[in-house]
Amino acid sequence: MSASFEPVIGRYINLDLFGRAHRIYVEEAGQGTPLLCLHTAGSDTRQYRGLMNHSAITEGHRVIAFDMPWHGKSSPPAGWHEEEYQLTSAHYTTMILDIMTALDLEQPIVMGCSIGGRIALHLALDHPERFRAIIGLQAGAHVDPYYDLNFLHRPDVHGGEMAGAIVSGLVGPDAPVKERWETLWHYMQGGPGVFKGDLYFYKVDGDIRDRVGRIDTKRCPLFLLSGEYDYSCTPEETLAVAASIPGCEVTIMKGLGHFPMSENPESFVGHLMPVLDKIRALAVPR
């Protein structure tokens, strides 16, 4: 028998968010520049398992990720059973900044994917001083709904099967089988209505089209990376955002889809390392 521990350490933090008590799961690995990672809608921190286990990343970075309330091992707040979960831009921003404060994170790099990529644009616009650099994965300014979101949460459709099947085609074709299905499993495990509630931010409340051009990359460097096979946030949409922001750097990742860090960690690290190297070279105290 062979057994080995990963370098990933998880803990729970209790704090107030939006005036309510929350129990939030946080995990981390590595040492150095803090790199705060935000998972996609309907998933959790396990999407960053590849980065947290990759020595090229963790040698120079303290990789940190938290499960959003309602996701993964974080609980929904007391009273949730009477509510409809809907993520808003305001709550999403508040939770990120408050968790950073609670963890004493001083100007981390923040990297978010999908809804995390969208909020990265909000952070670049509204809170650039809090970050050393911002990385948006699969980041677009807006996505119109292209299917009836009610199918994600109704008693006569299995929510986990539905969420997994909805996003399955967003995984790139070259993803290793193991990582593809691990990625989909996280979706299948989401709580009832949680993926749908996240998409309220993604498709309605988080629309940043009219403001995204005002992002000032001199206040905080912004890097966008998007997978070629993503039809939720297409490369064209990421390129359009990048074109509207002077100084924004963009990478289109061949063969990858909507979940680069989770569906194909090895390939993604190849695209991420040059970005982290650039951020290191830029790093001067501001």
Binding site: D148, F151, E161, M162, G169, L170, Y229, T234, P235
Partner: protein, 126 residues
């Protein structure tokens, strides 16, 4: 290309025990429209029992998937390009129309995606 191709669906799906098992609660007939050609695909407890080519006089089906022939051709290529690699990608581009009782389609989405992808030749690895 489409005439013999769609008929292969029956043998290809029924030969996949895991796929048939996932469809064990699924009994329905759906319509596939490839350009101007229509097909009715009948499923009983996850097994495809018939694939019938139109034209039909009074077809009954639970839901229909309609797309131009060139879009299905791209979807059924060995290495589909971005935007053609998944039914939802076609729907997102508004080239595939899903209509009718979509509950049965959505509740069994993985089954229908994987069944229709069976018509692709083996993926070519560069």
């Amino acid at each position: 290309m489409e005439a013999p191709l769609i008929e292969l669906l029956k043998d290809k799906v029924n030969a996949d025990a895991a796929l048939v098992r996932r469809g064990r609660f699924l009994t329905t007939t759906f319509l596939v429209e490839v350009g101007t050609t229509q097909w009715l695909v009948s499923i009983v407890e996850g097994r495809i029992i018939s694939v019938t080519q139109g034209p039909f006089v009074m077809p009954s089906w639970s839901f229909a998937l309609r797309a131009p022939q060139e879009e299905w051709q791209k979807f059924w290529s060995a290495n589909p390009q971005p935007g053609s690699n998944d039914l939802m990608a076609l729907i997102r581009r508004r080239v595939l129309t899903a209509e009718g009782d979509l509950h049965v389609f959505m509740a069994n989405l993985r089954y229908f995606k994987e069944s229709l992808e069976k018509l692709r030749p083996a993926r070519v690895v560069a």
